[in-house]
């Protein structure tokens, strides 16, 4: 009888820890303490398409801390999202406010790299821990020893992606098309050229465009005349979908691939059948079977009516990282800074992540292909 009871107890405990969403509120060293993390996001203005996703992810994280789905060891952890309105001056004001109010031990955000270059020096001067979740430009973490990020830089995502596709495609010739008026898309263009050349492919054509362009017919006609085996796109969602759809109209059959800018579940819906098989090297997969990821996607959709994107996932993962530190007892800025420096591995919706010596995230990109209605592993 006693043995049966023990077995039942063990089974319950095992199930309790294995089933996400069934987590109980645990009591850690920070139990009962209040930790209010500051978040700077572009909820309005030109960056709102990204910032809104981040705000929604933190609001969901606030719910999940309360219900124990995110385990903060019983602390009253919350994420206080302030709108930077896509205005660099407001980003600076908010960073100054958070670093000096005495109540905020850590800041997550801002949304864009350009904003980070303005705001992070303030955090550095105050020896204040900050983590970017979408600031992927080169040099962001080099601003100072208190700057971390959980977003995979393009320089981390693209090389393994090219290496992976070349195992299958064996492309001898490649054409590159990228936006030359944006640091992110230009980096993609440069990285694709360099990485394809490393695999022995030659770049037969390079075309550029500007953010907001709609007509890619001339550039694609020129690319088609060079008959490349593959076309690499350094672009964000609106331009990339047009490039893919218009390549389809022109009957271009070359393999196509892109970076994080193409990681949207709307890809197939927007670019249509021409997008089938297009490869995307990204930091996150909506269908990834990491701890809690599918549940995160489900709850996000239930709460907001739309699926989360990579911005939302990276924000939610940051909340998970902070919660793991708070659970271990870190509630002050110094303790959280020390905690971030000593993170071994945290299980997040992005998969298991850690930070390298440059405080950049250490994680592997996912190489996906577009299929009807979404993505699948390539």
């Amino acid at each position: 009888m006693k043995k049966t009871l023990l077995c039942a107890l063990a089974l319950t405990l095992a199930l309790g820890t294995a089933l996400p969403g069934a987590a109980a509120l645990t009591k850690g060293p920070a139990a009962g303490k209040t930790v209010k993390v500051g978040v700077i996001a572009d909820v309005t203005g030109s960056g709102a398409v990204y910032g809104t996703m981040q705000r929604n992810a933190y609001d969901l994280a606030n719910d999940d801390v309360k219900t124990g789905i995110i385990d903060a060891g019983g602390a009253n952890l919350s994420f206080d999202v302030e709108d930077a309105a896509s205005d660099p001056a407001q980003v600076v004001n908010l960073m100054q406010k958070f670093t000096t109010d005495g109540a905020t031990p850590l800041v997550l955000g801002p949304t864009l790299s350009g904003e980070a270059f303005r705001a992070f020096p303030i955090a550095k001067a105050a020896n204040f821990p900050v983590m970017g979740t979408s600031t992927t430009a080169e040099g962001v973490t080099a601003i100072g020893p208190t700057i971390f990020r959980d977003s995979l830089a393009e320089s981390q995502a693209i090389p393994p992606t090219v290496a992976r596709v070349q195992q299958t495609w064996h492309a001898k010739t490649v054409a590159i098309i990228y936006g030359d008026d944006n640091a992110f898309t230009k980096t993609d263009g440069d990285l694709f050229a360099r990485e394809f050349q490393k695999t022995g492919a030659s770049v037969v054509d390079t075309e550029t465009f500007h953010i907001g362009d709609k007509d890619f017919g001339p550039a694609l006609t020129k690319i088609a005349s060079k008959k490349p085996d593959a076309i690499a796109i350094g672009g964000l969602f609106p331009e990339a979908t047009q490039i893919i759809a218009q390549a389809g109209k022109l009957g271009i059959k070359a393999h196509m691939l892109g970076g994080n800018g193409l990681n949207s579940t709307q890809m197939y819906q927007t670019a249509g059948p021409a997008s089938l098989g297009v490869v995307v090297g990204a930091a996150w997969f909506i269908g990834g079977k990491y701890t809690g990821n599918l549940e995160f996607v489900k709850r996000f959709k239930a709460k907001y009516g739309t699926t989360p994107d990579q911005f939302a996932a990276q924000a939610y993962a940051a909340a998970q990282v902070v919660a793991s530190l708070v659970k271990a007892g870190a509630v002050t800025k110094d303790a959280l800074l020390a905690g971030l420096r000593n993170v071994h591995v945290v299980q997040t919706v992005l998969g298991p992540i850690a930070f390298d010596q440059n405080r950049d995230v250490r994680a592997a990109p996912v190489v996906l292909k577009i299929v009807k209605g979404g993505f699948a592993y390539f």
Partner: protein, 292 residues
């Protein structure tokens, strides 16, 4: 490749031209630059998108969006220009007034539709490619091109051969003389705004259909191009706007075709500069509407 690029340039140029004829028509009649023309182009595309989203056929949505654009044009004149005209405010004040109107229309559209791009048909409009020799295009592109050309021909006919057209030309030549001859000036100006804005709106809807994409920022990308086209063609000249549209479309396309994609816009405006140095009044000179 050259044949395909010329076809690409023709498709692009037709929409630039359609946008620009409305732009230049208002200038020809009133001597004012209506910088809200691009905002009307955008709002018409959103209207057509809404109608399609509510299940109406694309043809009906096109007509609906075009009529709404024309109506917004009349309202724009009544609210933003007519009061200034009555006070003889000159040409600079209406310019500022039109910028204000553009900002207000943009804010309304953002309030209704948000900042996300909208699509007429998810996954693209189903249109099989047509191959003629070395050239490939889709049926939708052909229809868009034909519609743009047809609308410009209709405009040309209206201006040349109808009473309304004669009135518009009379007002553009000499408003006082036209009034003395019995032309109802305000009604003629309202008709001008309706036609010009409807054509601008049609260009917006056709662009939206071509790329299956409607967004707030589509106004920004056509605004400067449209201005370049009408200056190049000769301010106020309908024929000039049409030719200018095709020239700019061709220059943009060929710039990319000959390996200058990063210089595309610089080259376009460079060509404009060279033509204007040679012919300061544009290809067709100033105020050619009088002789349309």
């Amino acid at each position: 490749m050259l044949a395909q690029q010329l076809v690409n340039g023709l498709f692009l140029g037709a929409v630039y031209a359609l946008f620009a004829v409305g732009y230049t028509l208002v200038f020809g009649v009133l001597d004012i630059l209506n910088l809200a023309h691009a905002a009307i182009y955008m709002i018409a595309a959103f209207t057509a998108y809404s109608l399609v989203a509510h299940g109406l056929p694309i043809g009906v949505a096109f007509a609906g969006g075009t009529i709404l654009a024309g109506t917004v044009g009349i309202l724009l004149d009544r609210i933003a220009f007519a009061p200034l005209r009555r006070r003889n405010a000159g040409t600079l004040v209406p310019l500022i007034s039109s910028i204000g109107a553009a900002i207000i229309i943009g804010a309304i559209a953002r309030g209704i539709y948000g900042i996300d791009e909208r699509h007429f048909v998810d996954g693209g409009i189903d249109s099989p490619p047509i191959h003629i020799g070395p050239v490939t295009f889709t049926a939708v592109e052909a229809i868009i091109f034909a519609t743009a050309i047809a609308l410009m021909l209709v405009l040309s006919y209206v201006l040349r051969a109808t009473t309304l057209g004669r009135n518009i030309r009379a007002v553009s030549q000499d408003r006082i003389a036209a009034a003395l001859l019995g032309v109802n000036i305000e009604r003629t100006i309202a008709a001008t705004f309706f036609i010009a804005s409807a054509l601008g709106g049609a260009a917006g809807i056709l662009t939206g259909l071509e790329y299956n994409s409607v967004s707030i920022d589509m106004a920004g990308s056509i605004e400067l191009k449209g201005l370049a086209v009408i200056i190049l063609g000769g301010m106020g000249s309908i024929t000039g706007a049409v030719i200018g549209g095709f020239v700019i479309g061709a220059v943009e396309t060929l710039a990319v075709a000959y390996g200058l994609s990063e210089w595309r816009d610089a080259l376009t405006f460079g060509v404009m500069f060279v033509i204007l140095v040679a012919r300061p009044a544009g290809i067709f000179g100033a105020r050619a509407l009088r002789n349309a």
